[in-house]
């Protein structure tokens, strides 16, 4: 429309640091979590010139492209890299930003949608377009370039593998969580504002913001080191768990021991296991390996074979050990995702 109409306003607000909030392939929970800092949002709007936040306000990518490199002080990216279009926008924002933050689980470790990397792109698309209620006798699939009677239509390419933000561009900071708890978002934003004002230290590059330096277990009110287990149970098999004792020690696979603290151990507080949404605890190289060893340590059996037998009681090891972290793990994907042979 009229690209010039907005630029004068932008110049006036030029004194404030610029903030961009961008969602790639995401569920939007991260945006909602930011909005849920409620009245503090006014302070964010006062501290920053918000140049992009498509979910909430009108803004133009064209304006971003017209900016100088590094002109945006800080960009929060939620969501994963799923199509060539999201990758392109992430690169554009990286270029224009001084600090790039991987915001939430999708951007930092792939989150649940990262489990797509257990399948090939073809399997994912084939499944979606042949479900039991799909009327598709001709086996139609979406195509990146389609010749409609009136002209060519383009779709962004669904990439063979889902990638995390740091697999595509350099990332300065990470705010974990699915989504990050609003309290923690506010704390992280305050720290950033303080650093920009010179009233606080600038977190070192690579720092994890809005979370702790320990595990969910350390925040959990349940008592540990009470029991050993001889088998794993599933939540629907037990009508009531002891409300005081560690869920893992009651046989329920809980991800607390491998997961970074920051949420306040919300899930175990309501009788549900931690599913690991805050990602790997500090110092953990491989999330799944850490969790397996934590599980092994509560198993009563001593001999490796017997321990293995108990661990076999976990019905979905891939999901249990890499539920949120698969795409960002050393593993990244199963062989299927690499195999794009014979694809159209």
């Amino acid at each position: 429309m009229s690209p010039t109409a907005k630029s004068s306003g932008a110049a006036k607000a030029g004194a404030k640091p610029k903030l961009a909030i961008f969602g790639a392939a995401s569920c939007g929970g991260c945006d909602i979590a930011i909005v849920n800092i409620h009245e503090h949002i006014v302070e964010v709007a006062a501290a920053f010139d918000i140049v992009l936040w498509p979910t909430i306000m009108d803004g133009k990518y064209a304006d971003i492209e017209a900016m100088d490199d590094g002109e945006i002080t800080i960009t929060l990216v939620s969501g994963s890299m799923r199509t060539d279009e999201t990758v392109h926008l992430a690169r554009l924002l990286r270029r224009k930003s001084k600090f790039m933050v991987a915001f939430g689980s999708c951007a930092s470790e792939g989150c649940i949608p990262g489990l797509a990397n257990l399948s090939s792109r073809k399997q994912i698309i084939d499944t979606a377009f042949s479900t039991t209620s799909t009327d598709n006798p001709d086996g139609i699939r979406p195509v990146w370039e389609y010749q409609a009677p009136e002209g060519v239509l383009h779709l962004p390419e669904f990439e063979p593998m889902l990638r995390t933000l740091d697999q595509v561009v350099e990332v300065d900071y990470t705010i974990p969580g699915c989504p990050p708890e609003s309290k923690q978002i506010w704390a992280a934003l305050q720290a950033v504002v303080a650093a920009l004002n010179g009233t606080g230290p600038l977190p070192p590059r690579g720092a994890v913001l809005g979370a702790g330096e320990s595990t969910v277990c350390d925040e959990c009110a349940r008592k540990r080191d009470v029991k050993k287990i001889d088998r794993f149970v599933r939540i629907q098999q037990i009508a009531q768990f002891d409300p005081e004792i560690c869920l893992l020690e009651q046989g329920l696979p809980c991800n607390g021991p491998a997961t970074r603290d920051g949420c306040g151990a919300l899930c175990p507080a309501v009788g549900a296991p931690c599913i690991g949404c805050y990602g790997a605890a500090p110092g953990v190289v491989d999330y799944g390996a850490r969790l397996i060893s934590a599980y092994a340590s509560v198993v009563e059996a001593q001999k490796p074979d017997d321990i293995d037998k108990v661990l076999d009681g976990i019905v979905d090891p891939a999901g249990q050990f890499y539920r949120f972290s698969l795409a960002g793990s050393l593993l990244r994907s199963s062989k299927a995702a690499w195999n794009t042979d014979g694809e159209k």
């Binding site: 209620s133 389609y146 002209g151």
Partner: protein
């Protein structure tokens, strides 16, 4: 052929892109509304244990995770052939009602409301939540924030987390609530009733009190006669959490009412190669393309559809608001006997009627003598097989269908997501807007963009849900191409 591209639409949660092609005379040849994203939940949920689905499918949509959480838990109940204890069902519905209050409030004031409250002709820069507040007063902003905050607090009390709750599992809930929490929720419910009435008052004053707006609501450009879908209780009143799915014809005739498990007899999904999203339609009527009317299987599932489908609301104040809605906009019944409103912009009003119902329902549930019972779960004893769970998501009827092996591990997953229901009607609204604002190659730019955006927003689309992707950049771009396929215009007010 000329082409117009609109990409992307802000204040819609998700992604979208519109391509408009013109014929040699400069008239609209066709318009395509594309959803450029897919995530593939139906594939990668296979292999996961069914009890994890309520938390895994939360991640389809961060705007309405509660809807997926409930549909997944209900499908899990069905897979195990268990009926959860009454208190568990009350708690799920209570959480869900609080969520509706929050979600409808957010939509009205921040997403859809700006077009109405600030006005469709106001400059784009003012058509946002700040513009709304400037018009209705800053203290209203405080109330909106309070409504959202309290709603999320109730979700956290019952669900453990404000976003992506954790407590609904096959057979019930992991945990009940205390008397202290119950009292707090009741208080919030009562406050929400007042807030809903206040919001209906604003609508009355600003929209109904303005002839130009009323005219716009009733205008042909925003009118579509399609089938309607909604979940109803045994008395055919609107219900969000449970019931049967009912279908109303555009002529006011009840086509049928079915149990969610029979959905495949009623609905099928059409596929087009130029988009990642499918188009559900009524199987018994058939897919006839993007057209209105009784011969086309296109249907709509929105607040307006639910009111059109039901015989009324199950709570007294909402029922009165329902009557007033129809007395004002559809005094006479359709030939089939039911009063229907086909003016799509009336969806905003319907949403407020539902807001009032959700608030009243919160109080009903919070004052149920069994709500604080600790009996919230039943352990399944039967072998898990297959199950369907349906709830009414704010953006349309949501169905999860699972098949498992004998261990309760998923072997097949089918998801019919809220917004998807309305994909075809949205595509039709886009085309209609284009046809009325492009003639002889002359494009009424601002008008077209506004019309398209407004047509979208009333559906409150959330393509996170639909693409099993989400709200990131739903900004919008319209490309207009001439008969030779060259782009003559790219309208992109928001990208």
């Amino acid at each position: 052929m000329e082409r117009i591209t609109i990409d992307p639409v802000t204040r819609l949660e998700g992604h979208g892109k519109i391509e408009i092609f013109l014929d040699p005379d400069g008239e609209v040849a066709n318009a395509y509304f594309q959803i450029p994203e897919l995530r593939g939940f139906e594939r990668f949920c296979v292999g996961r244990p069914v009890e994890e689905m309520p938390t895994l499918t939360n991640r389809i949509c961060g705007v309405c995770p509660e809807a997926h959480h409930m549909a997944a838990a209900k499908a899990g109940d069905a897979v195990y052939h268990v009926d959860p204890p009454r208190t568990a069902k009350l708690l799920r519905e209570l959480l869900y009602s609080a969520f509706y209050v929050t979600d409808h409030t957010t939509h009205f004031y921040a997403l859809g409301g700006p077009d109405f409250v600030v006005g469709p002709d106001a400059p784009a820069a003012e058509r946002n939540i700040l513009g709304v507040l400037a018009k209705v007063g800053m203290e209203v902003g405080g109330k909106v924030i309070q409504a959202r905050k309290q709603g999320h607090n109730v979700v956290e009390m019952i669900g453990g987390r404000k976003i992506h709750p954790a407590t609904a599992v096959p057979g019930g809930m992991t945990q009940g609530i205390t008397e202290e929490q119950r009292a707090e929720i009741e208080k919030i419910g009562r406050w929400s009733i007042e807030f809903a009435q206040f919001s209906l008052g604003i609508f009355d004053q600003i929209v109904l009190g303005n002839d130009a707006y009323k005219e716009m609501v009733l205008s042909d450009g925003y009118t579509h006669r399609t089938y309607y879908m909604g979940l109803v209780d045994p008395n055919k009143k609107v219900n969000f959490y449970d019931g049967q799915v009912s279908i109303m014809s555009p002529d006011g005739e009840r086509v049928g009412t079915y149990a969610p498990a029979e959905y495949r007899d009623w609905i099928a999904e059409h596929v087009e190669p130029w988009t990642y999203l499918k188009f559900p339609y009524l199987k018994k009527v058939g897919w006839k393309g993007f057209v209105d009317g009784a011969d086309s299987g296109v249907y709509c599932a929105t607040p307006l559809s639910r009111l059109n489908t039901a015989e009324g609301m199950a709570t007294p104040l909402a029922q009165a608001a329902y009557e007033r809605f129809y007395d004002t906009l559809a005094p006479k019944p359709e030939p089939g006997g039911k009063r229907l409103i086909h003016h799509r912009l009336a969806t905003h009003w319907a949403r407020l009627v539902e807001l009032l119902y959700a608030a009243e329902r919160m109080v009903e549930l919070a004052t149920d003598p069994e709500i604080t019972s600790p009996n919230v779960r039943i352990v399944p004893t039967e072998k898990p097989t297959e199950g369907v769970g349906t709830v009414e998501a704010p953006r349309g009827t949501l169905t999860h269908h699972y098949v498992t092996d004998e261990r309760g591990v998923l072997t097949s997953v089918n998801l019919l997501v809220g917004t998807t229901n309305n994909y075809a009607p949205m595509a039709m609204s886009v085309k209609k807007a284009a046809e009325s604002l492009i003639h002889k190659g002359v494009v009424v730019h601002q008008g077209l963009l506004n019309r398209v955006e407004m047509a979208f927003r009333l559906y409150d689309p959330c393509f996170g849900c639909a693409t099993h992707s989400l709200p990131g950049e739903m900004p919008l771009q319209v490309a207009i191409r001439n008969a030779d396929g060259e782009v003559i215009e790219v309208l992109s007010q928001n990208c």
